[in-house]
């Protein structure tokens, strides 16, 4: 009994109070609920066959998006807990330790387990369809990437109720996160969750580079690709070049923590500053990894809903390439105050400002695309138009202000900075990904989302967003720093904080309305609507909604940019490589990607508590699964002509 109580206190954290107890109960109920539903509908087999073992990019994309929305909920709850704590001075709703854990998981989840999967989900759904491919280059690897991400995210979420969450902030700066100052398992959770998901992400980057470079339909040269595809190509390249730095820095921190080594320790010659340096070598490109796909979405949306060609296509491409290279030369602006010297600060300050130039080009090109168009304010376009002012304020005005190194000494780590990056990440990435979600929703599911309910969600969210984050600029100038779990009264911080909290809850309402809109639309919106509901321009809209397993029954031949638009307008003729339908090669489903993710989870869990039996078992299992794959030569199958024809007929295509 005492052994059990010891276990319960150490690992299940029963001493920690109602927050944990409620979470325990909720997690238990949810798990029981999910299993009960699956049992009731006898859905286990369906779930395994159709989803867990799938290698279909469209389904993987949908799973990414579902996971991202769940994580948005989790991260949002974290945010609301924090805002509740800060609504009044000297509040004791949360203890310091809980607040520290919550802002850490909020940041980590929002960047790596919400923004990233939302981006990767949308690119999975859209890219192969937009370039006329039947799947990504490596469908099996794609599934592995997803399950690595998924189990990485689960590992971080488990921490809350098993052993304690990380409390070092999402940037996790040593020496605070060294074992000496932060001995709990929380930080190991952070390291392993990011490591597992990060490796999966590198694989995604490789996958999409090869897909886009080598699997475009004949005729689609690089400069005829839709802008979203360009943005994903660039994003994937950034992933490939930036994420290894994260892998290294996490591995180094792990070695420090579990082997007592001295990369970042305060003794024996460790250099804590090097963590910050390496972290931002990854961290800054990461910002562009999540924002460039949003730029891509905006380009598609603006062009589609203005019924006009994208203005300045080559300038848009050029500016994205420029951003790629610049983004590797600006990382020091995250730690101007580390005293790296005036020359270093000057160089990195100027390179940071220089990024505003290509970004400005993009904004003006979008405006010019809208100019003289006929702008239809549907939901995707509304989110796009909310993005432009937010991003000009967040990325443009305050971004440049923060790039001025001496001024940054006053902004750094203050709420001014917090407001700035929320304006870019929420106003840029989240608005962009929601625009993309609304835009491609009919293509994913074959029905539209209800406009009226969506507008309610939009207004609550966007107004709430501004109410929440505008006052934070002021708070920063008043001297409030980020990550303070409480603040004294008498400094005038109360009113802005209170307004900010109101805004936070309005965003929460917006999110609930969005969920309500989805649920309502699933139940009430008519199915089988038009395949091209937006009168759009690119290839994916020439397909049925949702697209069949093999996407294209016959491979299209591409004549130019906005292919589908000109086919509809009669300027291009629809042509195919094959005169008649041929048997189609498709990859076979496999349960191994799921198992690889699962065993990575096991190994990660082992690292967290330094239970090396689990580590060895998990990694061995992964190795065996990889070797198994290596000896498999028969990993594709044919879809016979008769089946393709039947499917196409059912879709009204023959």
């Amino acid at each position: 009994m005492s052994q059990f109580m010891n276990f319960a206190n150490t690992f299940l954290m029963w001493k920690e109070g109602p927050l944990i107890w409620i979470s325990d109960v909720l997690i238990g109920l949810t798990s029981i609920g999910i299993i009960a539903v699956l049992v009731y509908f006898k859905a286990f087999k369906w779930l395994w066959k159709e989803w867990l073992t799938t290698v279909d990019h469209k389904k993987i994309g949908i799973m990414y998006i579902i996971a991202a929305l769940l994580m948005l909920f989790r991260g949002g709850v974290d945010a609301l807990l924090m805002r509740t704590q800060l609504a009044f001075p000297n509040e004791h709703f949360l203890t310091a330790q809980h607040y520290d854990e919550i802002f850490t998981t909020h940041g980590t989840i929002m960047i790596l387990f919400m923004a990233m999967p939302l981006v990767i989900g949308l690119m999975n759904v859209a890219v192969p369809l937009m370039i006329g491919a039947r799947d990504v280059a490596f469908p099996y690897l794609n599934a592995i990437s997803f399950w690595m991400f998924f189990f990485g995210a689960m590992l971080l979420n488990v921490s809350f109720v098993f052993g304690g969450s990380p409390d070092g902030g999402w940037t996790s700066y040593p020496p605070y996160v060294e074992k000496m100052f932060d001995p709990g398992p929380g930080e190991n959770y952070y390291i392993m969750a990011l490591q597992i998901a990060g490796i999966g992400t590198i694989a995604t980057g490789v996958n999409f580079i090869v897909t886009i470079l080598k699997m475009r339909a004949p005729g689609m040269t690089l400069m005829k690709m839709p802008m979203f595809v360009w943005s994903i190509l660039i994003t994937s390249a950034l992933i490939v070049f930036a994420f290894p730095a994260l892998t290294v820095v996490l591995a180094q921190l792990l070695i420090d923590r579990i082997a007592g080594a001295h990369f970042f320790s305060t003794t024996a010659g460790g250099m804590p500053m090097n963590f910050i340096n390496e972290f931002w070598i990854w961290g800054h490109p990461e910002v562009y990894i999540v924002i460039l796909p949003a730029f891509g979405v905006f380009s598609e949306v603006v062009s589609t809903f203005s019924s006009k060609r994208l203005f300045g296509y080559s300038a848009m491409v050029g500016s994205m390439v420029a951003i790629t290279f610049l983004s590797f030369g600006v990382w020091v602006h995250h730690f101007f105050t580390m005293g790296a010297g005036a020359a270093v600060n000057s160089f990195f300050g100027i390179s940071t400002m220089a990024i505003a130039i290509p970004t400005g080009v993009k904004i003006f090109n979008w405006l010019s695309t809208m100019y003289k168009g006929r702008i239809r304010f549907t939901l995707p376009m509304m989110w796009t138009s909310a993005f432009i002012p937010s991003f000009v304020l967040g990325g443009g005005v305050t971004g440049v202000m923060l790039a001025v190194a001496p001024a940054d000494y006053q902004f750094h780590n203050s709420y001014f900075l917090v407001a700035h990056f929320h304006y870019t990440l929420v106003g840029g990435t989240v608005f962009g990904m929601l625009a993309g979600l609304y835009y491609w929703w009919p293509k994913m599911f074959g029905f539209q989302l209800d406009e009226r309910r969506g507008r309610h969600a939009f207004w609550w969210f966007v107004i709430g967003f501004n109410v929440c984050f505008l006052p934070q600029f002021l708070l920063g100038l008043m001297g409030m720093t980020r990550r303070m779990y409480t603040y004294p009264s008498g400094l005038g911080w109360w009113i802005p904080n209170f307004i900010s909290t109101i805004g936070g809850f309005m965003m929460g309402v917006g999110f609930l309305l969005l969920v309500y809109q989805i649920v309502w639309s699933v139940r009430h919106m008519p199915r089988g609507v038009a395949d091209d509901p937006w009168d759009a321009r690119t290839l994916e809209w020439s397909l049925p909604s949702p697209a069949p397993e093999y996407n294209f029954a016959r491979t299209p031949i591409i004549h130019g940019r906005d292919e589908w638009w000109y086919i509809k307008r009669g300027k291009f003729e629809q042509e195919f490589v094959e005169p008649t339908i041929q048997p189609i090669h498709m990859p076979k489903s496999s349960g191994r990607p799921f198992l690889i993710g699962l065993f990575m989870f096991v190994a990660g869990f082992g690292f967290v508590f330094e239970w090396y039996v689990l580590v060895v078992l998990g990694l061995l299992a992964v190795l065996v699964l990889m070797a198994w794959r290596s000896f498999e030569f028969d990993y594709y199958h044919h879809i016979p002509v008769s089946v393709v024809e039947k499917t196409e007929k059912a879709l009204g295509r023959l």
Partner: protein, 211 residues
């Protein structure tokens, strides 16, 4: 253009006959390009480890310095073994392109042998260091040294396992579009590890003997 029809999947009928077998199917060429891109990621990964090592080179905290620690004979042999293995691996690729199954297997086995020899020397070196009190926990410099060289060593071990699996597959199936692609990719990996070693013996061992 037939490749556009059945992309991602291989089919013997889409073989292009005037290019090496490993690029001849679309599946093969996708994987080779994918592996190149992966190598580009590895370049950045090792660059971070190198950068860390270089800035921590002086952080000896009173422990052994690189001048005291590095043994010329040891790393000279390691270098020779790995360079030679890279060469024999190249010959294996050459034989593969000539369609000489036995040659491929023989040269790959030679490569594996040299790789094991390299690992043997490296392990010996590490064991000697640890016995001399130069452990990873001793100083920041040693932490960075063991991590950089150890990561390379782990890659070599992985490469040996992988190459063994390829040898078995070629022995069982002969040289076809799939095994030749696997062989070509593992050879890329092996040459890449040699490139990394070139920079290790330059920036770590030789430099460590100079400064």
């Amino acid at each position: 253009m037939e490749s556009a029809v059945n992309h991602a999947m291989i089919a013997e009928h889409e073989l292009q006959h005037d290019v090496p077998l490993e690029f001849a199917t679309e599946d093969g060429s996708l994987r080779v390009l994918g592996f190149w891109v992966f190598l580009a990621a590895e370049v950045v990964l090792f660059s971070c480890l190198f950068a860390t090592y270089i800035i921590m080179h002086g952080m000896t905290a009173g422990g052994p310095t690189s001048k005291q620690l590095y043994d010329v004979k040891g790393f000279a042999w390691e270098t020779f073994f790995l360079l030679t293995s890279s060469f024999t691996c190249g010959i294996a690729t050459f034989e593969m392109r000539r369609g000489n199954k036995k040659g491929v297997i023989a040269w790959l086995l030679v490569t594996i042998a040299f790789g094991l020899g390299f690992l043997g020397f490296e392990i010996q070196e590490f064991v000697a260091d640890v016995h001399a009190g130069a452990t990873m926990q001793r100083s920041g410099f040693l932490t960075a040294f063991f991590t950089l060289v150890g990561t390379h060593g782990a890659h070599v071990s992985m490469g040996i396992l992988w190459m063994t699996s390829v040898v078995i597959q070629i022995a069982r199936r002969g040289i076809d579009s799939m095994t030749s692609r696997k062989m070509f990719i593992v050879s890329l990996y092996w040459h890449f590890l040699d490139v990394v070693w070139i920079f290790i013996f330059t920036a770590v061992y030789l430099t460590g003997k100079v400064i």
